[in-house]
């Protein structure tokens, strides 16, 4: 196909051609970045939790004001919950993954450091790892004789009595790799605050923290041997049994004391979908905008293409009369569109990169991967070709006899 005559024609329609190129460029730039944002959100929604997601039930009871009997009450509750048929593990915990309240602490590798090395979340609760279904990678889980009561730990910390403070900890693989890259974490020492030394006895595959404010630190987690009595219960059961177990658990607790208030109750999958609901909403919105953008641009190409064909009816007729085939005319318009799209895409890539730089600065987004450029280009070429096909076919159908008619 000869490109020079097409360029010569386009030169006579500079403004319209420029407008189309600009439109394609802007669409390309915005769609590339929007698709990138969508994949970021989807990736985030897939964040691993490290727990047996489809086997968990969570219950939270309100603190009703009496504080003296909480230990006895928790023991009683756990016994009741364990008796429910189908329940395999129970635990009283201080926080839950993807929940919205969290206990965090700065840790140091050397007590003399003036600033913390990093901030990790601290999970408390006897039998917590087993109830959550956390997977051990190396070392051992916490044992019953490692555990101490929360109030006793607070008193010991106040008195500076190291003997009655926890001395062991289980951490996640991600945290171990961050603290001691390439080494085994087992037997290593970390310091909670600057006073409490803890020896790593086990490493688990993962356990995500509640209230994540930085995705890079989502897996910086430690499990401490502390018993808590806050009315925050985790039950593990077979996936199909969860709804029944949840109902039975509430009935059992209400039966033991009708004055109790259940503030939260859910099967754990709902917590995940709740936690990421804004990401999901944003992803859906972005998909909608991308589709609308592409449709508008395609319609613009159809509109302009139709105009050009109508405008050049006579010229097409002359070419046909001079021996051009229908295919020649069809290819002429297709090539024209391809040329405009290519310039637009080239410009769009530069613009996409610019927008990405802006987003990186203001929304902490990573760099746009290079793969987006060729994929975006092919997508826009295809859309351009599909959009121009209608007007091009109409052009090809112009009979040669038009050349002999005056307008």
């Amino acid at each position: 196909m000869d490109i020079l005559p097409i360029l010569a024609t386009l030169r006579r329609h500079k403004v319209t051609a420029t407008l189309l190129i600009l439109q394609i460029a802007l669409t390309c730039a915005i769609v590339c970045n929007a698709v990138f944002l969508i994949t970021q959100r989807l990736h985030r929604m897939d964040m691993p939790s490290g727990v047996a997601e489809h086997e968990l039930v969570h219950l939270r009871l309100a603190d009703i004001g009496r504080r003296d009997d909480e230990k006895a009450r928790t023991a009683e509750d756990l016994a009741l919950l364990r008796q429910i048929p189908g329940v395999t593990e129970v635990a009283s915990v201080n926080q839950v993954p993807f929940g919205n309240s969290s206990n965090n602490s700065g840790i140091k590798l050397d007590p003399k450091q003036s600033q913390s090395t990093l901030n990790m979340t601290t999970y408390f609760g006897e039998n917590l790892a087993q109830a959550f279904g956390v997977q051990l990678v190396s070392g051992r889980m916490l044992q019953p004789d490692d555990y101490m009561d929360f109030d006793a730990v607070v008193h010991a910390a106040q008195a500076g009595d190291l003997k009655h403070l926890p001395s062991v900890i289980v951490i996640t693989q991600a945290l171990a790799e961050r603290l001691w890259p390439g080494q085994s974490a087992l037997g290593k020492q970390i310091y909670l605050g600057s006073e409490v030394p803890l020896r790593v006895v086990g490493v688990v595959r993962g356990l995500v923290r509640p209230s994540i404010w930085d995705d890079a630190m989502a897996q910086y987690t430690g499990i401490l041997p502390v018993r808590v009595f806050d009315g925050n219960y985790i039950l593990r059961t077979a996936p199909g049994e969860r709804d029944r177990v949840l109902k039975a658990a509430i009935a059992a607790l209400k039966k033991s004391d009708p004055h109790r208030v259940v503030i939260a109750q859910h099967i754990w999958d709902d917590m995940r979908s709740d936690f990421f609901r804004q990401d999901r909403a944003m992803a859906v919105l972005l998909v909608g905008v991308c589709i609308a953008l592409l449709v508008v641009t395609a319609l613009g190409i159809v509109g302009l293409g139709s105009f050009w064909v109508a405008q050049r009816r006579r010229q097409i007729g002359v070419r046909r009369a001079l021996g051009a085939t229908r295919a020649n005319i069809l290819h002429y318009f297709q090539t024209e569109n391809f040329l405009l799209a290519t310039i637009g895409i080239g410009l769009g890539m530069v613009l996409a990169y610019g927008i990405n730089l802006f987003l990186m600065q203001h929304y902490e987004l990573p760099r746009l991967p290079a793969i987006y450029f060729p994929v975006g280009a092919v997508a826009l070429w295809l859309i351009g070709q599909v959009a121009v096909l209608g007007p091009a076919l109409r052009a090809a159908a112009v009979p040669p006899v038009v050349a002999t008619r005056s307008v």
């Binding site: 439109q23 910390a157 208030v261 307008v407």
Partner: protein
């Protein structure tokens, strides 16, 4: 003349219905998305308390000990109990209050116990934030001092527990203790809840208000950020090294603002002399709008959506410019005849702009419908601000201004080109 142009425009638009529909649709979709996101932005960045927002100041002090002090760090949002109580005792502002969020379980006379959102604060809270009362009134400073067992409840809780009657003087059972209700609020909600953004930024206000001293006596649970350093047996103790209390001051005149700033600087100097820290110890005093801005109260997703929508509108406009241009230039012959018969360039320009304006208005009307649909979708999104999003008259007007402006802008270039059609050449080529 305009009516003649309007007639011409309508005729021209009718001649090519598909193309007209395309242009109107493009503008409508662009306007619809832009106005949806701009409305969300407008609502979220609004002033929650316009009559007083310039007089209310959030107080921040950096009293970190030297070990925890990092130069260049922001001044923390909250105060320690020690500092908050000291400022409250001095009472140098026109009004002032310290406060914290909390939750409590109330046992009603009948039915299940309720877990309620609460605010523990001091007497000036109600007057300072212009809180309306349906029955009774707030407590006074004396009640704060005596740790009085009193409470103020929301209208919704009053409806739920007392069927909406005047419940002042009735008792509220909280964890085995009784609090006497002294006031019932009228409908009141601050969106965003500027006085404490840490527990959900949008939504209804708290259901129970209790003097802070009373809440501490009863060991009621607090919620919100608790940032401590050192060994802390009791985070709520009078001298605990924990930042957890919000502190607001009302300063009505520029002179009191200057004096208060000076007072805070003196206070920090005293603390430094007392040996709490050796760093300079910054202070921060932000009025409501500055405070909301500093806390980035508009979610970053919403800002991103506005940018996206404006980009979208830009593409739709480019689209319309291209189509209008093609349309006008195709009518070169007609334009030339009018020019040859004596129409000025200005008249041609006006005629084209009127046609663009008609397209814009039609696009605006459709865009408004689309924006309405968009806002319905926003209200069904799982965000805490979903229920607040409404289009107000100013945004309604803005929609039409934006639609008309953008279509005129889109018509500018095509009209310019059309008026420069050389009549002789165009007529001859026909």
């Amino acid at each position: 003349m305009i009516s003649y142009y309007l007639d011409l425009a309508l005729r021209s638009l009718k001649r090519n219905k598909v193309l007209t529909a395309l242009m109107v649709l493009a503008i409508a979709v662009g306007i619809g998305t832009s106005m949806t996101t701009l409305t969300v932005m407008h609502v979220l960045s609004g002033d929650p308390i316009p009559q007083k927002s310039a007089d209310l100041f959030r107080v921040g002090l950096n009293v970190f000990p030297d070990d925890n002090f990092r130069p260049g760090d922001k001044v923390p949002d909250n105060l320690t109990r020690r500092d908050a109580e000291a400022l409250l005792r001095d009472a140098r502002a026109d009004r002032q209050a310290m406060m914290s969020a909390g939750t409590m379980v109330v046992t009603p006379a009948q039915g299940d116990p309720l877990s309620l959102e609460a605010r523990y604060t001091t007497a000036d809270f109600f007057a300072m934030f212009a809180v309306p009362f349906r029955f009774g009134h707030g407590w006074d400073r004396g009640d704060d001092g005596h740790h009085a067992r009193v409470a103020v409840i929301s209208a919704a809780l009053n409806d739920q527990l007392f069927g909406g009657r005047d419940s002042t003087g009735s008792m509220l059972q909280v964890g085995g203790q009784s609090l006497r209700i002294v006031g019932v609020l009228d409908d009141w909600s601050m969106n965003p809840r500027f006085y404490d953004l840490s527990n959900g930024r949008f939504g209804d206000s708290e259901q129970v208000f209790v003097p802070l001293a009373t809440a501490l006596d009863l060991h009621l649970a607090t919620s919100g950020t608790m940032n401590c350093w050192g060994n802390v047996p009791d985070e709520h103790a009078a001298d605990a090294p924990c930042l957890w209390l919000q502190y607001w001051a009302e300063l009505d005149a520029p002179s009191t603002r200057r004096a208060y700033r000076q007072y805070l600087q003196n206070y920090m100097a005293q603390q430094r002399q007392a040996g709490r820290f050796t760093h300079p110890g910054q202070i921060r005093l932000l009025d409501v709008m500055q405070w909301l801005d500093a806390k980035g109260v508009v979610p970053s997703d919403v800002r991103l959506q506005v940018w996206l929508a404006l980009g979208f509108l830009g593409i739709c406009l480019l689209n319309t410019v291209g189509l209008l241009l093609a349309k006008f230039l195709r009518r070169s012959g007609e334009i030339s005849v009018r020019r040859a018969l004596g129409a000025s360039r200005r008249a041609i320009f006006m005629q084209c702009l009127v046609e663009a304006g008609v397209v814009g208005l039609a696009g605006g009307v459709c865009g408004l419908a689309l924006a309405g649909l968009g806002l319905v979708l926003v209200r069904h999104q799982p965000t805490d601000y979903a229920g607040l999003i409404r289009m107000d008259p100013s945004m309604l007007l803005a929609t039409f201004v934006l639609a008309l402006l953008s279509s005129l802008l889109a018509g500018l270039l095509p009209a310019w080109r059309a008026m420069h059609v050389a009549p002789a050449v165009a007529l001859k080529s026909n």
